[in-house]
Amino acid sequence: MTEPVVQFNNVCFAYDQEEILHNITLTIRSGNMVAIVGPNGGGKSTLLRLMLGLITPIRGTVTLFSTPPEFARHRVAYVPQYLLFDPAFPITALDVVLLGRIGQHRIGAFRRADRAAAREALNQVSMAHLARRSFAGLSGGERQRIIIAQALIADPDLLLLDEPTANVDSRIEHQIYDLLNVLNQRMTIIVVSHNLSVVTRHASHVACVNRTASLLPLAELAETQRAAVHSGDMAVLQHELSCQIINPTESLRIPHHSGPVETNR
């Protein structure tokens, strides 16, 4: 068994009174490429934010590389859902990428090595020709790839992406997922997506999140499920996966904890 990268142990999370995630226990291991799927509002983005330690669970523990998430952030890069950027902000694509290294220099300008790394990252996402262009003037798909490049120059061991292809056409979408497969050879990848047919073609594991969640290796899917995957039939697949992974109504009835409550707050 390879090293566990992300571990959720009986995690519950709620904004105010409303519980978003209930009793989540799962382990994502080094080298996995996990697709997180599920309905809107099911808690997919919340799951990522818990992994980053941007929010803390009300019950249970989350660990990243076997430590609390706050202490392992330098090993993680995060590509947020379509960014709420100020479209008038004066910044070039290259400068956006360079910000990925902001944690490495406490003071002063970026070094020559940083610029070289930024150009290399832009090459990887096929955006080198746009380096000097204003970030605001780029299309949604171009901006998305710039932000992926920004994640790459931090040289992470774990890459988290929240709907990275929400604003791009299917050609770019395939390019991005092909790139993720290449990157997966050197880092663990967790990607939230609404497009089942594409992610399941590229991922090693799938997690269907809808208040509850568990992880399933795609290789173990039954023939009917795989057919559903490849036809991209959302309804059939969701049914198949949720039956196999969890019975939502049943799991929601499980009480929070029987034993003493552990939290990492």
């Binding site: 980053l52 941007l54 952030r73 330098h74 993680v76 995060y78 947020p80 960014l83 950027f85 100020d86 008038a88 902000f89 004066p90 910044i91 070039t92 400068d95 956006v96 360079l98 910000l99 990925g100 902001i102 944690g103 220099h105 003071i107 002063g108 300008a109 970026f110 204003s134 605001a136 003037g137 920004q150 931090a154």
Partner: protein, 291 residues
């Protein structure tokens, strides 16, 4: 205009005014750019108006208690730093609505200023110069303080340019990469406060917002890098400040108001000109396509 240039060679007060224009333009370009890209004009406005409280208290201490160190400029500087700290502290706690707190700082600061000015014996003319500034009255001690504040702003900006860029553009990324959003947010507020104090000397506290935002807003329409925006904004505000002094000098108009009118006209011209250019450009292109 020509009278201004003849007198500029003869009179020290005019030379001081021009020097004050140069010093404020530097701060204005740098900090104005941050205020514009971070959309924090209202914060700058609150600090600017709160400064009246500091000026009022300083004037009272000076005249009634004979504390000679308490000049309007030192009072303004302390009040601006205090206002910035309050705003930073309240926004950090995240428990209050930001604009409500800004309004309170804005109004309470002014109220304190008005009370202290009214209980201080003497003429009210000072009040007008606080509200509308008087660049022709800037003396050597004020110029020295302005130079020190400028130097501080420049050094801070050079050291933390990237951190400021990160917390302004992508605060969540900054947080994940271990950059303290709170510390840099507070530092930006601090240099904003110092710049507001500099600018009140030139155009007074009511007109500060215009000089802080309009040159930077114009620069943002012309260039796509933050540091370039700062340079262009500084150059523009220098032109408007000196231009405003020169235009107002002959007909004895108020310099601060003339500077703002000049800046405002240039802003409208730029926006209008760009609008016309784009419309004409699109029209020409669609015409070519059509034929």
């Amino acid at each position: 205009m020509s009278l201004f240039f003849t007198h500029l060679q003869q009179y020290a007060f005019l030379q001081h005014a021009v020097l004050a224009g140069v010093l404020t333009a530097i701060a204005c370009g740098i900090v104005g750019s941050y205020v514009v890209v971070r959309r924090s004009t209202y914060t700058a406005g609150a600090i600017a108006h709160c400064v009246l409280g500091g000026m009022g208290i300083a004037r009272y201490l000076h005249h009634v208690h004979g504390m000679t160190w308490a000049t309007p400029l030192t009072g303004a500087t302390l009040a601006a730093i205090l206002a910035a700290s309050i705003i930073a502290g309240v926004t950090a706690s995240g428990k209050q609505r930001e604009d409500t707190v800004l309004s309170a700082v804005w109004a309470v600061g002014m109220a304190i200023g008005i009370s202290f000015i009214s209980i201080t014996p003497g003429y009210y003319e000072d009040l007008l110069s606080y509200l509308f500034g008087n660049i022709l009255m800037v003396g050597m001690p004020a110029l020295r303080l302005m130079a020190v504040l400028d130097l501080f702003i420049i050094v801070i900006t050079i050291l933390f340019y990237n951190q400021f860029l990160a917390v302004s553009f992508q605060p969540e990324l900054a947080r994940l990469r271990g950059v303290s959003v709170q510390i840099y947010h507070t530092l930006i507020l601090l240099i904003t406060a110092l710049t507001v104090v500099l600018l009140t000397q030139v155009v007074g506290l009511i007109l500060v917002i215009a000089l802080l935002t309009l040159p930077a807003a114009m620069a943002s329409r012309l260039v796509h890098k933050l540091w370039l925006m700062m340079l262009v904004a500084a150059a523009l505000s220098l032109v408007f400040t000196i231009g405003g002094i020169a235009l107002s000098y002959g007909p004895e108009l108020p310099a601060g108001a003339t500077i703002i009118e000049l800046t405002g006209s240039a802003f409208v011209l730029l926006i209008g000109g760009q609008g016309l250019y784009h419309r004409w450009f699109r029209h020409a292109r669609s015409h070519r396509k059509g034929s």
